[in-house]
Structures are given as C-alpha cells and as structure tokens.
Symmetry: C2
Subunit: 387 residues, 2 copies
C-alpha cells in the first residue's frame, strides 16, 4: 500500500468521525497532527468533513510539494484570502490540548464568528489505532532498537559513569538511523532519547510522568543519565526510545555488573510476570483500567505494592502507554481509563519497581493489540543481562 493510499485512508477515517460530530472540518496546526495526514513542513491543514483537504504551507513550500501526500497544496495565504477559503465553514475542530492560546487567537481573528471546538480526544483516539503500514514501520523500529540493546553490554563495566554508557547507546542508535527527537504531547513533559539510571539514581522522584526519572545532568534537565558511577551489583536500567520514520518504540532492559541482590532479582521476576500477564490479556475489548488494576494487584501479591511504578508517595497510576508518532499516545493502561482496547493499538507495557535505597528495576516492551493478545514489537529476550 502506497503512502498516498495510507494517508487517504487516514483522512477518510477522520472524515467519518467529523461527520458524526457534526463538524464542518478539522483545522490542524500542530506539527505532528499535520504530519500524520500530510507533511512535517510548517503548514496548516484543513480537512473538511467532506471533500478534498487543503494544505497551506509556510515553509518550505518546495519541500512540502515533494513530500506531502495530498493534492491541494498552496502557499499560506494573506488574511483576506485565508478567510475566503473558509466561506460556509462554521463548525471547526482544533486540537485544544496542544494549541497555544496565541495561535487560537490568531485563527479566531482570521476566521471571525466561527464555532470552534475541541477535537483533541477524537484526534488521539484515531491515531491510537495503527494501520498495517504503520505496524510495519514500528516493527522495523523495534528491530533496530533491539539491536542496540543487544549490543550494549560489551561496553558496560563497573566504574563507568551513567552518561558514558548513555552516550554510547545513543550514538549506536543514531548510526543505525535513529532520529533522536522524541515527541511528547503532554504539557510539561520532555525526554531526551531515554533514561539510563543505575543504583540509587533510580530512586529519585522527578517531573517525568513515569515510574523512573533519573537524576540527569543538572536541575535544568533533571531526567535520564547523570555522572553517577555504575558499581558492581547495582541495577542498571536502560529505558530508551527508538525513533524511525517518526514512529517511536519504547523498551527497557536491565543490566548488572555481577549479580543483583535478591530483593531486586525478585522484583525483576515480578515485573516480567506482570508484563507477560498483561501481554496475554491485550486483546480487543479488554478494559485498560482493569489491566492496570490487575498489574497493581499482582504487585501487591508480590509484596511490592508500595514500590510499584515509582517511589512510595509518588507512584504513577499506570502500567502502560500508547506509543506511535508521540511517546504518550492513547490508550493508557491506567486508573480511570475505562475504555476497551482496539486491534492495532500499540502500547509500551512497563511494570517497574523502585526499591528504596537499592534502585529501580523492571521490564518494558512495545506490543500491538491483536485477537491473540499482545504482539511483541520490540523482539529481544527480556532476560536480565549480567556482565
């Protein structure tokens, strides 16, 4: 299936939803929203509920003409001409979750008297289900990222700093095509490629909406690898993304120089059991919040309820998150997320524990929801690697 057909199918799915919502169309201005249907060039995309989309390009027009997968591509017009393009269009959807207020005011002025409404949920729900074309790309990304995970143990040794191991991981990922820039949708979140934490670096809380944050290099960038030195017997958690053709795959593997202490070994085994149980249940119709509750119950049964998904008192209430063009897509296997899974959704499942004074431990793979349960996209042994 060509990319043009792929994008036409995406547009058709959106148009059906727009018609059901009684909207005249969706006006996409956020870069990754525009990219999903058309191009990453700096553009505004109008997709009417019926008829042909229109791409208005700020920069680069030449490159958008080459790259964009839709027919009607024009330079971004002057204000009057912009308004003329939207005559008769009244009910217009925008993604309020990411649209800055200044941008909203700008489009409000360009299109006075219109009835704008929020299509954030609709947009995220549509994107959560991956097509066979997207799944192919994600499988490729999973294979590439797995190659780096499979190779990295050769440089790990006690006495090296977290950041040196991270730098080696990152450069290997870049050399095989990793794009590096990780897009996140949530306000207030950011991630530089991934998190590499060892020992008690893994015990710190942080701004990051996950179980583990890491110390980072300064209080301005307080996540990921730090200058802490990796010592024998400490858990080394490598939680990294691979971004290929824009699609993100998310994995975590555990490493140790020597042997882990028993409490960490036991917690690691619990995280694998939880992951495997969730994977088996990841069929269409399974309720996201129930999968989280099941995981939390298993953690409690293992005597690790207080350590599940974060340091005690700052525990995250999820165990998995959608991934795709953004790291934090729908669905979320989280408390209160009472919606059923759909075939083709891709979810990073990451049961983790933060063991006080010892470090963080866990497993993570990206799965696709299928009738047979989760298809593991990040194909690599889950085993703890001891060097």
């Amino acid at each position: 299936m060509s990319l043009i057909k792929e994008c036409s199918a995406r547009i058709a799915r959106l148009q059906t939803k727009l018609q059901q919502s009684e909207l005249d169309g969706a006006l996409f201005v956020y870069p990754i929203d525009v990219y999903y249907y058309a191009t990453r060039q700096n553009s505004t995309l109008w997709i009417p509920a019926q008829g042909e989309p229109l791409l208005l390009v700020r920069k680069s027009f030449a490159r958008a003409k080459e790259e964009a997968r839709i027919g009607d591509i024009r330079p971004f017009p002057r204000s009057k001409e912009f308004a003329a393009l939207f005559e008769g269009q009244h009910n217009i959807g925008l993604t309020y979750d990411v649209l800055p207020l200044q941008q909203f005011h700008y489009y409000n002025k360009l299109l006075p008297g219109r009835n704008f409404s929020d299509i954030s949920m609709l947009n995220r729900e549509l994107r959560s289900v991956k097509s066979p074309w997207e799944l192919e790309r994600m499988r490729y990304g999973g294979a590439q990222l797995s190659r780096v995970f499979a190779s990295i143990a050769d440089v790990l040794q006690p006495g090296m700093r977290e950041v040196d191991l991270a730098a080696e991981f990152e450069t290997r990922l870049r050399r095989i095509g990793g794009e590096g820039y990780v897009r996140m949708r949530a306000f207030n979140q950011e991630l530089f490629m991934g998190l590499l934490v060892s020992g008690t670096s893994g015990c710190s809380g942080g701004f990051f909406d996950g179980a583990v944050t890491g110390l980072g290099m300064s209080d301005a960038s307080p996540h990921g690898a730090s200058t802490a030195v990796i010592e024998a017997g400490q858990p080394v958690m490598i939680d990294y993304t691979g971004v290929f053709s824009g699609y993100i795959v998310d994995m975590t593997r555990m490493f140790v120089c020597g042997q882990l202490p028993d409490p960490l070994q036991n917690a690691f085994e619990a995280s694998c059991r939880i992951q495997n149980r969730i994977a088996a249940e990841m069929k269409p119709g399974a309720i996201c919040s129930e999968l989280f509750e099941m995981a939390a119950d298993m953690a409690t049964e293992a005597g690790l309820g207080d350590c599940f998904m974060g340091p005690t008192g700052e525990q995250a209430k999820f165990v998995g998150h959608g991934v795709g063009l953004e790291l934090d897509e729908f669905p979320v296997l989280a408390q209160g997320f009472d919606v059923p899974l759909m075939t083709g959704q891709t979810i990073a499942v990451e049961p983790k524990f933060v063991i006080p004074k010892m470090g963080s431990i866990g497993i993570e793979n990206t799965f696709a929801v299928t009738e047979q349960g989760g298809e593991k996209i990040s194909v690599l042994s889950d085993d703890l690697v001891s060097v």
Copy 2:
C-alpha cells in the same frame, strides 16, 4: 552570588514590571518559565506583583523541595483550595505564546471571573538580558562546545555519512556533560541537538526557521544529518548547540576534505566579514533591525544577496537570534525588530549563504552584548578546517 540570590533578583525584576503593568501577578505554568524562577519539577508558579512567590508542585514534590530556590513550596492543591490561595488577585498574567488552550480553560475554571492577560513579551524581554551568573554558565557552555568543535576534524574523512559524523559529534558532547535536549519556544519548531549538512544537503529548504535545515533521516524528522555521503571538496557545515545547566550556546563551523571551490570560499569570507562587523556593532542601543539590514547590504555588495540566509525564495529575514534557556530567545536581529540591544543580551550571530547546487556555508558564534561590542562566548577560531 548564590543561586537563591540570583533567583530573588530575577523575581524582583519581574515584580517591578508587573507593577508597571498594573497586574496583580504572573501565573507561570510552562516548564521553562517556571524553571527560570524556581525549578524544572512539574509545578505552577505564582509570582505576585508584591510579596512572596508560591510554588505549587505536582511532581516531584520531594525533589522540588530540594531544588527550588524559593521559600513557599506546597503540593498542588485541590480546586477549592487553589481558588482560596488567589483571593483578591484579579489581574493575572499568563504566557499566551506557549499556553495550550486546554490549560487556559483549566486555570480559567479554577479562577473564575479573573482578568487574564498575555505577558509573553514581558517574559521574553526579561529573559533576554542575562545576569553575570548566567553569563558565567554560558561561557562554560561555550568552552565545552568549542572543545567538541576543535576535536571533531580527526574523524572527518571523505566517504563517511553525515549521520556518522553527527553521531560522533553528539556522543562527544554528551560525554563532557551536554544535556542534549534543546528547548525552542516557537510553535512548530523543533531541533535535535544541531544540524550537520554536507554538499547539496545544505541547499534544501525546510520547516526550520533558519538559513539551513538539512535533509534529516526521514520526512518525519526532516532536519539535520542524513545518510548522504560526504565527498571531497564539499562544504561540511556543523551547526550545533551545547546545552549545559539548561543554557544553550549555538555555534557553526565549516569543514572540508581537501579544498573548497572558489565561490564557496568567497562566500565563507563574506560571512566572516558580516559576522565581525555585526560583532563590532553589538553595543547597547544598536537597533536589531538595522544590524540585519547592514548584514543584508553587505551580502548584496558581495554579490550574494540572493543566497543570503536561505535558498532563493525561502530566505530568512534575520541574521541572529537570542539564546539562553531557549534556542529562540529575544532579541532577534531581524527585519522589523526595531528595538535597541541591551547589555547582557546573548545572541547567536549566523550569517550564512546557500549556494545553489554547491551547498551551504557560513559562520556562527554566540556573543554577549557589551559596551565594547559583542563578547564572543563560543571562543574558538572561526577558520575553515581542511582535512
């Protein structure tokens, strides 16, 4: 001067501006805005026009207590308690340039009946002037980034791919403490560490608001290094940021295997002349737009007006941009930016040319505005490096 005193001084400067604007206070919710005054932990910061600031922390509270440089730190309260904290506060400033509409609606609901207004300009103007404490950090970043630029020629050889040279540059930067994540404020912009382009990769337009974008690894990430092979005689432009303690320094140096063709050599010399002329004029009171026009005139005199700051037809109308905690700070040496420079502003000056069918060429250094003209913060020879 301690960091606490530094932040107190920042808050005092802001409070003076708030009083002049007849605002009761500023409510900061965007991460880097909060960081400037307090912490990168996920928090909302209230700075009243008079009196003590209040930091309301979502995550991590424990870490914010350790890191934040202000006195009154509390967990983010429930809705009713939130409203109670703001009794009597009516005129509230928000940074509309980066605040998503959903967030605006959220705070509107928490604080009904308030008069919100946009303090984006005020916020950016204040941040544009760096304190001696900040300038020290930027000089450190400039020195570190310069070390990587000074060392990278040892791996450059014809036949290698852009991305392999980029990966080597990036890993060296990370190993000496580079934080990697580059914050940009402009809607629709993003950058992964920097841009490395060779030969005709430098001729392509792109979404990036600069002279040069590069091809990138895919149409999802269409900027920076690509898999193109570097050949002898081609210009290799390395335009990278170094991020240390959150502060960004921006530099460009040119490399070549062998010798550059004359047109590129001439354009390189023109870019250095323009940069040096601007640097000499970067004194308080100089008008930003006039510095741009002067640069554009010099480009025209050199017979390179059509190639200045981008491919013909997609030329950027600036020659320098503020840098600091964000890559795109104020001021901008740009058409229409008719404001005077102030002592302590830090600006990346980057005259560049895109020579059709040959590539991009230019120079870039980060300067601080002083009474004596620009102080070069990225201290390294500007010379073209031939290997």
